[in-house]
C-alpha cells in the first residue's frame, strides 16, 4: 500500500470517529477497570501455549526522504496484548509493519534499529524476510481474503504455499478446522468450506483472515486496525477473539478506538509524530498517565 493511501484511510476514520461519540474519561476508566482490573486479575486463564515475545530497540523508519519513526523502543511481552494508539499519521501502522518486515515492501520504505523475536534479530543479514513473516503473522485493516480461493483454500494457503515443510493432505484438513475454530468461524462455515472466501460478511471475512494468519502457527499476531471496517457486533466478536488468541500468541494491535484498546490490551503505547510518548499498563494509560499529552489524547482533547 502506498503511504498516501494509508494516510487517506486514516484520515477518513478519524473523521468518522466523532460520530461514535468521543468517550468520556469516566467511560474509559470504567472500561479499563472492568476489563483489566476485575476480569483479568481473577479469571484470566494461564496461556495454553507459550508464545515468544518481541522487542523493538530504537526503530527508525522512512518513506523515501520523509521520516515516519524517530526511534521507537518497546517490549512486547509473550502472551500479552499490546495496543498502539495515537492520532492519524503518528506512525503506529508504520511501526507495526516494521515488526514483520512488511514496511520494506513499500517502494522507498527503509528501516533502521533492532527488532528481535525471542532474542533473534529479524533484520539480521541472515534473517529471511519470508521466514520472519511466517513467524509473525498479520491481520490488515480491511479484510483481504484471496479473491479466487474458497474458505478452505484461504486458510490452507499459508500452509500450502509458504516455504516451510509440507503438510500432509490429511493433516491439512485438521489444521484448517482448528484454525477456523481458533478464529471462532468454524460453526458458521463448516458446511460450506468450498464457498468463495469473498462470499462471507465483512466480519466473517476478517475472522477468516485471522484463521489464515494463525494456520501457519506464528508466534506473534500483528493486527493493524482490524475492526475499523467492521460494524459494532462484528467488532465485539473480534475483540472476544483477541482475548482467546492471547492464550496462544503474542498480540500487537493498532487501534484508533480508545475504548477498544481499553477493552483488549494489557499494555498500551501512545505514539505521537513518530515518537513513543508513553508505554504503560493499559489502565494506567487511561486513568493515570504520566505524560500530559497522553492525558489530553485519551480524554479526547485532540487527535
Amino acid at each position: 500500500m502506498a503511504p498516501s493511501d494509508s494516510t487517506r484511510t486514516e484520515t477518513e476514520q478519524s473523521a468518522a470517529q466523532p460520530a461514535v461519540g468521543a468517550p468520556s474519561a469516566a467511560e474509559l476508566r470504567a472500561a479499563a477497570q472492568t476489563d483489566l482490573g476485575e476480569r483479568r486479575a481473577d479469571a484470566r486463564p494461564a496461556p495454553l501455549q507459550t508464545a515468544r515475545g518481541m522487542e523493538a530497540r530504537d526503530v527508525l523508519a522512512w518513506y523515501g526522504a520523509s521520516q515516519a519513526l524517530k526511534g521507537i523502543s518497546l517490549p512486547f511481552a509473550p502472551n500479552q496484548v499490546t495496543a498502539l494508539i495515537g492520532p492519524s499519521g503518528c506512525g503506529k501502522s508504520t511501526f507495526v509493519r516494521c515488526l514483520n518486515r512488511m514496511h520494506e515492501e513499500i517502494p522507498g520504505g527503509r528501516v533502521e534499529g533492532q527488532i528481535t523475536l525471542d532474542g533473534h534479530d529479524i533484520y539480521a543479514s541472515d534473517a529471511d524476510p519470508v521466514t520472519v513473516r511466517s513467524k509473525i503473522g498479520m491481520v490488515f485493516q480491511k479484510p483481504n481474503p484471496f479473491p479466487t480461493k474458497s474458505i478452505f483454500d484461504n486458510v490452507a494457503a499459508g500452509l500450502k504455499l509458504s516455504g516451510g515443510k509440507r503438510v500432509k493432505r490429511s493433516d491439512l484438513r485438521d489444521r484448517v478446522e482448528s484454525s477456523l475454530r481458533g478464529a471462532g468461524l468454524w460453526e458458521e462455515v463448516k458446511d460450506r468450506l468450498s464457498a468463495p472466501g469473498m462470499s462471507l460478511s465483512g466480519g466473517q471475512q476478517q475472522r477468516l483472515c485471522i484463521a489464515r494468519a494463525i494456520a501457519v502457527e506464528p508466534e506473534v499476531v500483528l493486527m493493524d486496525e482490524p475492526c475499523s471496517a467492521l460494524d459494532p457486533v462484528a467488532t465485539l466478536r473480534i475483540e472476544e477473539l483477541i482475548h482467546e488468541l492471547r492464550q496462544r500468541y503474542t498480540i500487537v494491535i493498532v487501534t484508533h478506538n480508545m475504548q477498544q484498546a481499553a477493552r483488549v490490551a494489557d499494555s498500551t503505547a501512545f505514539m505521537l509524530s513518530g515518537e513513543l510518548v508513553e508505554f504503560a499498563p493499559t489502565n494506567k494509560i487511561f486513568t493515570d498517565p504520566d505524560d500530559e499529552r497522553t492525558e489530553q489524547y485519551v480524554t479526547g482533547k485532540f487527535g
Binding site: 500500500m1 514483520n100 515492501e105 521466514t131 513473516r133 483481504n144 481474503p145 479473491p147 499459508g158 509458504s162
Partner: protein
C-alpha cells in the same frame, strides 16, 4: 390563504430556467452524438453486406481464387494465410507481452516500470506502415517476402497492446491481497502465481484477443512483407502468405467488377471475425474484473 408576498411561487425562474434549458440542450447533443456513433457502424456493416451480397456464399470461404479469365472462386487461401500470420505473430508477441506486463505491474520498481510503460505506449502509437517498412528493411530487402516477416511486423503491433492490457488487469488485483500473501510468509513470486495470476488470467486472455483483433485487419505492414502471394492454400511461412486485408486491397483495385464484389465480401468476413473476437474478449474481461475484485 398564504401570508407571503403575491409573487411567491415554486416555479423555476431566472438562472434556474436558463440552466434547465442548457441542460436539455446538452442532453440532446450528447444522446444525439451517441446515436450517430452507433449509426456509423451500422451503416458501415449494412453497406458492406449489401455490396457483397452477390459474392458471398459457401464457395467464397472454401474455394481458392478462380484462375484468370474464369468466374467464381473464393478466398480460402487468404483465410488460411491470415490465420497463420496471426498465430505466428501470437507465438512471438504473447509470451513477451505477458511477461513484460507482469514485470511492469508486479516486479519492477516504480521508475523502471514507468519507463517501460511509456515506451510501450510510444510503440503502440507508431504507425503500422512505419513498422512495415522497418521489417521490410530488416527482413525482406536482400531476401524475399515471407509470411514470417509479416508475422514479425504484426507481433510488434500486438506487443504493446498485450503488455499494457496485462499490466492493467494485474493492477486491478488489490494490493492488499498481495500484501496478505507476503504477510503469510509466502514468497513474492508464489504469491503472484497462486493468488494474483488466477484472479487475472481471464484479463490476460482479453489482452491477447484485443491484440489479435487489432492486427487482423492490418494491411500496410503486410503490403511490404507478404503481398506477392500465391493463389493457392499454403502454410509455408518462409514464403509470402496471402491474407484477407491484402486481398481486399488488390481486388478493390482490380479492373474486374466481380473482384470488387469479392473485396466487399472479404471485408465482411474480416468484420465478422473482428467483431466475434471483440465480443469474446469482452466476456473474458468482465469475468476477469469480477474475479480480481472477488465478486
Amino acid at each position: 390563504m398564504s401570508t407571503t408576498a403575491p409573487d411567491f411561487n415554486l416555479r423555476a425562474s431566472g438562472r434556474v430556467r436558463r440552466r434547465q434549458a442548457v441542460n436539455r440542450l446538452s442532453l440532446l447533443a450528447a444522446s444525439g452524438s451517441a446515436v450517430l456513433a452507433v449509426a456509423v457502424l451500422l451503416l458501415l456493416i449494412v453497406s458492406v453486406i449489401v455490396k457483397s451480397a452477390g459474392a458471398l456464399n459457401l464457395d467464397f470461404i472454401t474455394q481458392t481464387p478462380a484462375a484468370f479469365g474464369q468466374t467464381g472462386g473464393g478466398i480460402a487461401n487468404a483465410l488460411v494465410g491470415t490465420g497463420l500470420l496471426i498465430l505466428v505473430a501470437m507465438a512471438m508477441a504473447v509470451p513477451i507481452g505477458v511477461f513484460a506486463g507482469i514485470y511492469t505491474s508486479e516486479f519492477a520498481r516504480p521508475g523502471p516500470s514507468a519507463i517501460v510503460r511509456l515506451v510501450l505506449d510510444v510503440l503502440n502509437g507508431v504507425p503500422s506502415i512505419v513498422i512495415g517498412i522497418f521489417i521490410f528493411g530488416l527482413l525482406v530487402v536482400g531476401h524475399h517476402q515471407s509470411g514470417f516477416a509479416g508475422s514479425v511486423a504484426l507481433a510488434i503491433i500486438m506487443l504493446p497492446i498485450i503488455a499494457r492490457s496485462t499490466q492493467e488487469v494485474l493492477a486491478l488485483v488489490p494490493g492488499t491481497v498481495k500484501e496478505a500473501g507476503l504477510a503469510l510468509g509466502i514468497s513474492r513470486w508464489r504469491t503472484f502465481l497462486a493468488v494474483v495470476l488466477p484472479a487475472a488470467y481471464g484479463g490476460i486472455i482479453t489482452a491477447t484477443l484485443l491484440g489479435v483483433a487489432r492486427v487482423a485487419g492490418e494491411t500496410a505492414p503486410l503490403l511490404f512483407t507478404s503481398s506477392i502471394a500465391p493463389n493457392t492454400v499454403t502454410t509455408n511461412v518462409s514464403q509470402a502468405l496471402p491474407s484477407i486485408p491484402v486481398t481486399i486491397f488488390t481486388y478493390s483495385e482490380s479492373p474486374n467488377p466481380e473482384q470488387h464484389q469479392q473485396a466487399w465480401a472479404a471485408a465482411l468476413v474480416l468484420i465478422v471475425f473482428v467483431l466475434l473476437i471483440s465480443i469474446v474478449a469482452r466476456l473474458f474481461a468482465a469475468r476477469a474484473r469480477r474475479r480480481a475484485l472477488g465478486r
